[in-house]
């Protein structure tokens, strides 16, 4: 039996993809030239004032509703005071005691079980800029500041500490990411920093109810790094406790290159943020009418969608998981099925060749030229025996490249199957004559030899002959002689 129980809570920060920042009209574009996405307000210039972006509040409310939260009817913003160069005003406008959303939950499957993690709160705050140091600039004498991200709306989603392994924490984070993507409030791109998962982790003796001292881990750019960091931290804390030591409450940085966590330096961990109500903003009042307006605009959430795929389309749980990994993928599948294709065939194509092509092109499905209509038409062409499955693969490759419809590709390239028996028979006779050895082998009882002959016929027809017909005719011709 395990000696310690792991207890993990998560703070997830997700950048909202609103058109403008939380308190000004600047639009934020990832990768823009430094400080191009700024104005006097998000730079915290003297005399400027914030004005709340209603859309950002709407996005937060969407997230709250999608995660079963109570939406606070009377909410407010507060100043969180600390000095850091990436924070233009040296206070962050955040929410302290009246967050927009409270008491939610996120449900997900983990190790074949249904898990529900309670959320403490979801609140809205402004993002900070970033420092650019010598590693980037090559200038060790000074640092530069890029405030493009300063003021971008951030959602902070705080879970209760009721996750019990690093793997489960990852499953939870994936579930949150999926929901945020599904409801269209964040693109959740970890590499670009629009999704940041910060676990707090502690160990306690098995059976104990009391929480141990926790550490927080920052600086992870992928789920793999997050997992590595938590696994390392579990071991580190276990080792300390085994040796009778005490875990120190601190914030740790994970270094992906060494695979270790280390106490954070530089950014002073202020214990006292001196929160107080932001006097430059008025209270946020959310009336019930607005909520009833927003509620129906929420799409079907991933968990519900998975269940529907399983129930209505007879898709396996594993495949349903794959197909709902992103909203766009699930939409693609749904639409292809609605175009009249058989769900299992659709699923197999999406999970097989479509994914292969997407991966090779490092592309997301919503950016591909192939649409559900393409896939549906392709499957139709196979079903009505216009093309073989093998030809279909090349047609898909072509459609992926050009965006042309499968029927047009088949027509242009003359890829229709040869179903004319006399035409096939003529070719079969030629092949048998050209390869007397294998033909004789077949007649001598080496039935496997037919494979070679089929291959030769297909080759001669450039794959267009209907394979079943080729088989039938070959068998007949060989046995007749």
């Amino acid at each position: 039996m395990q000696k310690y129980e792991t207890v993990i809570g998560l703070e997830i920060h997700a950048e909202l993809c609103t058109e403008s920042k939380l308190f000004c009209h600047c639009a934020y574009t990832f990768g823009a030239a430094a400080n191009d996405c700024t104005c006097p307000i998000c730079l915290g210039m003297p005399g400027t004032l914030p004005v709340i972006n209603k859309n950002a509040v709407a996005f937060a409310v969407r997230a709250g509703l999608a995660m079963d939260c109570d939406i606070t009817s009377y909410s407010k913003f507060d100043r969180k005071n600390y000095f850091y160069p990436d924070l233009p005003k040296n206070y962050q406008i955040s929410q302290y005691d009246l967050p927009l959303c409270q008491n939610g939950q996120v449900t997900f499957d983990f190790n074949g079980e249904r898990r529900t993690v309670a959320l403490r709160r979801i609140h809205l705050e402004e993002d900070t800029g970033k420092s650019v140091h010598a590693e980037v600039t090559g200038d060790a004498t000074r640092s530069f500041m890029d405030f493009n991200r300063a003021g971008v709306p951030l959602l902070e989603i705080v879970s209760e500490p009721e996750i019990h392994s690093p793997e489960e924490a990852i499953a939870y984070c994936r579930a949150v990411k999926e929901i945020l993507e599904y409801i269209g409030v964040s693109d959740c791109n970890m590499e670009e920093g629009s999704l940041r998962c910060e676990p707090n982790l502690s160990l306690r003796p098995m059976g104990s109810q009391q929480l141990g001292t926790r550490t927080e881990i920052k600086n992870k750019n992928s789920f793999q790094e997050l997992l590595d960091a938590m696994q390392y931290e579990v071991q580190r804390q276990a080792r300390i406790l085994d040796e009778g030591g005490e875990v120190i409450q601190e914030t740790l940085l994970f270094d992906a290159s060494t695979g270790k966590t280390a106490a954070m330096r530089g950014k002073e961990e202020a214990d006292d943020y001196r929160y107080f109500p932001e006097p430059d903003l008025v209270h946020v009042q959310i009336n019930a009418d607005w909520l009833t307006e927003i509620q129906p605009t929420l799409p079907e959430l991933p968990a519900a969608r998975r269940e529907r795929f399983i129930a209505d389309y007879s898709i396996s749980a594993e495949n349903a998981e794959f197909l709902t990994a992103t909203r766009h993928l699930a939409d693609f599948f749904d639409e292809a099925v609605q175009c009249g294709s058989e769900p299992t065939a659709c699923a197999n194509w999406i999970m097989g060749d479509v994914s292969r092509l997407l991966n090779a092109a490092e592309m997301d499905i919503q950016d591909a030229k192939v649409t559900p209509a393409h896939l549906s038409e392709l499957i139709q062409l196979i079903n009505d025996a216009t093309i073989s499955g093998k030809i279909a693969k090349s047609v898909l490759d072509d459609a992926f490249e050009t965006g042309k419809m499968p029927k047009d590709i088949v027509k242009e390239k003359g890829l229709s199957q040869i179903t004319d028996t006399s035409e096939i028979e003529a070719i079969v006779l030629q092949v048998v004559e050209a390869h007397p050895g294998p033909a004789q082998d077949y007649r001598d009882g080496k039935k496997k030899a037919i494979g070679f002959l089929v291959g030769q016929v297909m080759r001669a027809t450039r794959g267009k002959a209907n394979p079943q017909l080729v088989n039938q005719i070959l068998t007949r011709v060989l046995s007749e002689e």
Partner: protein, 490 residues
């Protein structure tokens, strides 16, 4: 009478009649500035070249016979806490010594729409923290009525230049009395509008929940004209309130019959100079003689106003002033060895003593373990002070009090004793807490020749009532016509 002595409304008639051009007027005011500034020292920056361009533009309009706004071509001074595009805005602080805003405050945009002539930026207590304008990092402004005395503060420069006829009118800002108190001490009209009446966008924040921009003028009519120009909801300031802006000149009615004036007994308690008390009582008697009824009222939580103010304002200021760190703009210490040193030295060198004192007070009041005892308790007191006024305005239309417990005091007299200095705001901070509109008008003089101000307060957004009472008083008295006898060589 030289042009520079006239009011905006009188000058508007002359400009309209082409008796004078805006350029001539501007030159006239600048000549007065040149004569009195060596003594008064009310300006931090003069923008003569720009002003003459603005004056020419106004003249072009008058020449064409266009219907010109009331403030077109009128030379106006702006407190250096209000951001002016392309013109250095320092808050009288070393830390913003090189700060040139790339944007105008909303009030500046509104004034420029009127076609005003901006004379320059006026001196103040650093970041509006003070009651005497002695906390400026640059210079001490002198009260034109007695050069050895202070002009009040924090908008001391804006009050002094109007009193000295070195500006026709001006804008200041009032957080705990920073318009009303210097107006009283300099013998001019000064109004703090209702919190939310005027946009704070571009007003460099001291205490966000209290700050409000307002006018200084030579009479109540000009005050109304300036209010017309600057009031109104602004999408850039969510705390500005969407209430209709009336034509304030419509309230300039010489009649207070039937009006109920409340005189709070707490304002006539210890610390009030006897001569000031007498002068204010005499002024109230004038209003009574004109048909107003006067009754004594009680605002029982008045005594907590100063303590409450000196917790809430510094608390907000401690956050508002955190941005002056040398990273993005303003002063930065030379060659700091690391980030923390840069922060510490920039702020130690850039801020004056009073600003540092208040940042520390505010930081303390918000700190964990003290926030309940100080900041939160102060918020409760603020609510009580506000409810005092709510109750009072059920009974009376206007409240009349002295604006300041004393007339102008000597330069240096209170600098060593911050608490004594803070008591200068005892009459003005209560209305600030409640967000009320308040006006100070000249109501007489003490024997040593210093002006005394009468403060009138009304319910939120009842500026019209204040203007009416102030106008009636003005029409029936001569105090506002008195000019300081500045011994200057012209």
């Amino acid at each position: 009478m030289p042009h520079y002595e006239l009011t905006a409304h009188a000058l508007h008639e002359k400009l309209k009649a082409r008796d004078i051009t805006a350029v001539e007027l501007t030159e006239s005011v600048y000549s007065r500035v040149a004569a009195v500034e060596p003594h008064v020292k009310g300006y931090l920056t003069l923008t003569r070249e720009r002003a003459l361009q603005q004056a020419s533009a106004a003249d072009a309009g008058f020449q064409k016979g266009d219907e010109m706004p009331s403030l077109a071509g009128i030379p106006i001074a702006i407190k250096d806490v209000i951001c002016t595009k392309g013109v250095r805005t320092t808050c009288a602080s070393k830390i913003l010594s090189n700060f040139v805003p790339p944007y105008d405050a909303t009030v500046m945009e509104k004034l420029h729409q009127q076609g005003i002539v901006m004379l320059g930026k006026t001196n103040m207590d650093e970041f509006a923290m003070g009651s005497s304008t002695e906390n400026s990092a640059y210079q001490v402004t002198h009260n034109p009525w007695a050069l050895e005395t202070i002009p009040g503060g924090s908008s001391g420069g804006s009050a002094a230049v109007v009193a000295a006829d070195a500006a026709v009118c001006s804008l200041g800002s009032d957080t705990g009395g920073s318009i009303r108190q210097p107006a009283a001490l300099c013998g001019v009209v000064g109004m703090k509008p209702t919190y939310g009446r005027v946009s704070r966008y571009g007003l460099i924040a001291f205490a966000s929940s209290l700050d409000q921009i307002g006018p200084f003028s030579k009479d109540v009519t000009d005050c109304a004209l300036l209010l017309n120009a600057i009031c109104g909801r602004d999408a850039m300031d969510s705390t500005s309130v969407d209430v209709p802006v009336p034509d304030f000149t419509k309230s300039l009615i010489n009649d207070v019959k039937g009006l109920k004036i409340g005189v709070p007994k707490e304002y006539f308690a210890q610390g009030l100079e006897a001569e000031v008390s007498d002068t204010v009582h005499a002024a109230i008697a004038v209003l009574e003689s004109l048909g107003a009824s006067v009754e004594e009222i009680s605002l029982p939580h008045t005594e907590y106003a100063i303590a409450t103010y000196y917790i809430i304002a510094p608390a907000e200021a401690s956050a508002n002033l955190a941005r002056y760190d040398g990273v993005r703009y303003g002063y930065r210490t030379e060659n700091p060895s690391d980030l923390l040193t840069m922060y510490k030295k920039t702020r130690s060198e850039g801020f004056g003593q009073e600003v540092k004192r208040r940042i520390m007070l505010g930081t303390f009041a918000l700190s964990a373990g003290y926030q309940d005892a100080y900041y939160k308790k102060a918020q409760k007191a603020r609510t009580l002070i506000k409810s005092d006024f709510d109750a009072a305005f059920q009974e009376v239309d206007v409240i009349a009090t002295p604006t300041s417990p004393t007339p102008a005091f000597k330069i240096g007299e209170r600098t060593a004793d911050p608490l004594q200095m803070y008591l200068s705001d005892v009459m003005t901070t209560p209305a600030s807490h409640a967000g009320l509109p308040g006006i100070s008008i000249p109501c007489g003089f003490v024997k040593r020749g210093l002006p005394v101000g009468l403060q009138l307060l009304a319910a939120p957004f009842a500026e019209e009532r204040l203007l009416r009472v102030a106008y009636t008083f003005e029409q029936n008295t001569e105090h506002h016509r008195q000019k300081p006898n500045l011994r200057v060589e012209l």
